[in-house]
């Protein structure tokens, strides 16, 4: 990639030094001005984009991060795919040419003819679909994604390219996250067996529009067009994915012309929304990932629900979100994002300091009490925690903020890690999400207490609803069930829902990015801007 002409630098020495000093000072305060910098383009058929971490596992049965999934979408072909450029999540056939819902538990499908595999593995067949889906569902494999196919009974092969998926019971996420997700990826049995039954970062073959040409760990992942791909050829000859953990570094890299596309940091969203750099465009998306204040009901000091409710009533969601995201996000009314089944419109408990004080009095803590809030060390978390600290001080609760690096933080509520979970009181958490509400609720079932459910929220009705909602195909009924589940969460006094993490996409005007409704890029669909 080469750089296009930069803006003219006709300034004198004094002006330059003055501006450099201003830029530096502003950068120091996280307020680098936009709209003044030249932008580069994706030239020579290469798209250069940032990934927030390096790949770690590209086996559809064992992937570990969103980056793995993002890469796999370009190198493999799942049965269905999510459309890009739409307001709401919609799916369309991908490796499947068509499918038909025969009844609640049977789905007939046809594989596209001539879906080629790389490395001499021939073309995709219905047998490959059977192998790939049943592989993840096989308890012997120990795939963490076994639940994606938990309802699978078997796949019946009815022809070279046709088959029927037989389910043990109806399974609503099948069409929202399983078939369009990584668990819907189809690979040939021979390739997986040649790799010893599983693999990590070196796929034995590729079924998507791109294949991996070169991977230099921590440096760059280079994808090139897959010659075996017979559908519409992707626009770029190569995609260079550069792992850059720090979003600020990525933003600087973009503004220096080293990247064509990057997701921005949440604190930069408002700045870029006000004006993207010259030659660049910016889009803000309402993400699916949800952010909340957790309250550990199993902590000795918080066992009384009145105290937890008082905390719920004292928190000013709007102020917390404004502080954490600098105006770039809006308060949430649950853990299911707007646009998905089960998204709530309002919270049950809004800020009411008088009621909060009354509850504290009733619980025998009229004078307040000391408490801790545990957070992962980020600027957003600290800002949010400080507002919560101020909010709770208004009702006499003295909050001490405990910051942890991520490795330690993510073990605080895990009960198999020791006894530290007993001391956990308040905590700020963010979970990632896929476009199905079951992905949001799965972490708060009774079985998840002490694993990812750090609140100790143990509600049998919730657990049953979570299971039943996965089998519920009536969308209105399903919507009611997920709303009810979030009501139960809030009624417990264990949760203060804060917001859905906004996503900022910054890209060169020379490209047209393909982005899902949550801002997630689908790189193989990126094109050059015309004209």
């Amino acid at each position: 990639m080469t750089k296009t002409d930069t803006m003219a630098h006709g300034m004198n020495r004094r002006a330059f030094l003055g501006r450099g000093a201003t830029l530096g000072a502003l950068a120091g305060f996280g307020a680098l001005p936009s709209g003044v910098l030249a932008q580069t383009s994706a030239e020579n058929g290469i798209l250069t984009a940032r990934i927030y971490a390096d790949i770690s596992n590209l086996d559809p049965a064992f992937w570990t991060s969103a980056v793995d999934a993002l890469v796999m979408r370009s190198i493999y072909a799942p049965a269905l795919e999510h459309e890009t450029g739409t307001e709401e999540f919609r799916t369309r056939p991908h490796a499947f040419e068509s499918y038909e819902v025969l009844d609640d538990t049977r789905i007939a499908f046809n594989i596209r003819p001539d879906m080629g595999y790389s490395d001499g593995y021939g073309t995709m067949t219905a047998k490959d679909a059977k192998f790939s889906f049943e592989r993840i569902a096989d308890p012997e494999l120990d795939s963490p994604y076994i639940d994606d196919w938990a309802a699978l009974d078997h796949v019946e092969v009815t022809g070279e390219l046709s088959g029927i998926i037989h389910l043990k019971k109806p399974f609503a996420p099948l069409f929202t996250t399983t078939l369009p997700g990584i668990s819907g990826v189809i690979l040939p049995q021979a390739a997986i067996e040649a790799a010893g039954g599983r693999f990590s970062t070196q796929p034995p073959c590729f079924s998507g529009p791109y294949r991996i040409r070169e991977w230099t760990p921590k440096t760059r992942l280079t994808l090139e067009r897959n010659p075996a791909w017979t559908l519409d050829a992707p626009e770029f000859d190569e995609i260079h994915l550069v792992p850059i953990e720090d979003p600020k570094t990525a933003e600087l890299g973009f503004e220096a012309g080293d990247l064509d596309f990057t997701e921005t940091g949440v604190s930069s969203i408002m700045r870029y929304k006000d004006g993207a750099p010259q030659g660049a465009d910016f889009k803000r998306f309402e993400g699916l990932n949800y952010y909340w204040l957790g309250i550990n009901e199993d902590n000795w000091q918080l066992e009384d629900q009145r105290l937890r409710r008082a905390i719920q009533l004292a928190v000013d969601r709007q102020a917390v979100v404004d502080a954490a995201y600098l105006g770039g996000a809006t308060p949430a009314a649950g853990i299911v994002a707007p646009g998905l089944p089960g998204a709530r419109d309002v919270n049950l408990y809004e800020r009411d300091l008088d009621q909060a004080r009354t509850l504290l009095e009733e619980a025998g803590h009229g004078g307040g009490f000391p408490i801790t809030i545990s957070i992962q060390q980020t600027a957003e978390n600290l800002a949010a925690a400080q507002v919560i600290q101020a909010n709770l001080a208004e009702i006499g609760i003295q909050v001490q903020i405990n910051q942890y690096e991520s490795g330690t933080f993510w073990s605080l509520g895990v009960r198999s890690e020791g006894e530290q979970w007993r001391d956990l009181q308040l905590f700020l958490m963010r979970f990632s999400m896929q476009p199905d509400p079951s992905w949001a609720t799965m972490w708060f079932t009774p079985e998840q207490v002490g694993i990812w459910n750090w609140q100790g929220f143990d509600n049998a009705e919730f657990g049953k609803l979570h299971v039943d909602a996965q089998s519920e195909l009536d969308s209105a009924r399903r919507d009611e069930m997920y709303v009810r589940m979030q009501d139960l969460m809030e009624e417990s006094g264990d949760f203060v829902f804060l917001n859905f993490t906004p996503v900022g996409a910054l890209y060169s005007q020379d490209i047209v990015p393909a982005l899902r409704p949550d801002g997630e890029p689908v790189y193989y669909e990126f094109t050059r801007a015309k004209g």
Binding site: G20, P144, G253
Partner: protein, 314 residues
């Protein structure tokens, strides 16, 4: 000389063994589990337990440490807990970029530092001395991350002379991308080198052999470069040996800010994800490197200073 070398080597082995033992104690004292990272959030408790057993995390720390030393003797540093790649291969893929960065930073520190130090000493008390003193203290007092951000803003974004991220490919591209991170990391050391060298030169100037040289009518240039600098540079070499350790630590921030691959960023990521085999392997490698650099510095001093050579021979 050889005996001295062997003694230092033995000391180096002891240092490495102690560092690894301390590291094992530290990383196992903090909470966190690589299994969750390696398997993802949806892994069941049974899967997590099986994973911990497979990579030996269920063993007592002393057993784990013993196993590490035994593997080390076979040249095996274990496998990355997340990707399963051999740790040695990962380290060797990241090491060159860190070494280039450290070498580049040393170059940035030494060339202007020696020039400024010599200049200041030769013009002691003059305006030049005061100006170089101000420059030295200034570069020492500005935090390296501030320098890095200014360099990025001015030279990458504003002027677009240098790329902002990555290590590059090919010699020229690599050198091009090395300039800003090396400056960010090495700039502060210009001040250290200049100040130490100035003080050493001034001290050396008062030595009897310099007065003798002057009495023999040798030129000031010859006295400076043939007699004074040769000895006055020794403390600077010692400090630079220690400085390499600081630069290895500083490489973490430079590799993050400039999105470069390298050992620093590798260790940082590995600590966050509790990827113990990578942390241990990387610390082992950097400790060995640090010890060897300091050994090399001592040998260079012995080579340059006949008094030290004489002491060692005696």
């Amino acid at each position: 000389m050889w005996l001295y070398f062997l003694k230092r080597l033995g000391l180096a082995v002891a240092v490495v063994a102690i560092v690894i033992a301390a590291l094992f104690a530290m990383i196992h004292a903090i909470p966190g589990d690589p299994a969750r990272v390696a398997l993802g959030p949806r892994a069941s408790e049974e899967l997590v337990a099986a994973f911990r057993e497979r990579i030996g995390l269920d063993q007592p720390i002393l057993v784990q440490m013993g196993n590490f030393y035994v593997s080390l003797l076979r040249g095996d540093l274990g496998r990355d807990a997340v990707s399963g790649e051999p740790v040695l291969r990962i380290l060797l893929s990241q090491l060159p970029d860190t070494l280039y960065l450290v070498l580049g930073s040393i170059l940035v520190a030494v060339v202007p530092g020696v020039f400024l130090g010599t200049l200041a000493a030769r013009h002691r008390g003059s305006l030049i001395d005061r100006v170089t003193s101000v420059i030295s203290v200034s570069v020492m007092s500005i935090p390296a991350f501030v320098i890095a951000i200014y360099l990025l803003l001015i030279f990458s974004i504003e002027l677009q002379w240098f790329p902002a991220i990555g290590a590059g490919e090919g010699v020229l591209d690599r050198l091009h991308r090395l300039v800003l991170p090396s400056l960010a990391l090495g700039l502060a050391w210009i001040g250290y080198v200049a100040r130490i060298l100035r003080a050493s030169i001034l001290e050396e100037m008062n030595e009897p052999h310099v007065r003798t040289a002057r009495a023999f009518g040798l030129s000031e240039n010859r006295i400076m470069y043939d007699y004074v600098l040769r000895i006055a540079i020794l403390p600077t070499i010692t400090v630079l040996g220690i400085g390499v350790g600081h630069m290895l630590s500083g490489a973490v921030f430079a590799e993050i800010v400039f999105a470069r691959p390298g050992i620093g960023k590798l260790v940082f990521d590995a600590i966050i994800s509790r990827n113990y085999p990578v942390v241990t392997g990387a610390v082992l490698l950097t400790t060995i490197f640090f010890v060897l650099v300091n050994l090399l510095a001592d040998l260079v001093i012995a080579w340059l200073d006949p008094r030290v050579r004489h002491d060692l021979a005696g």
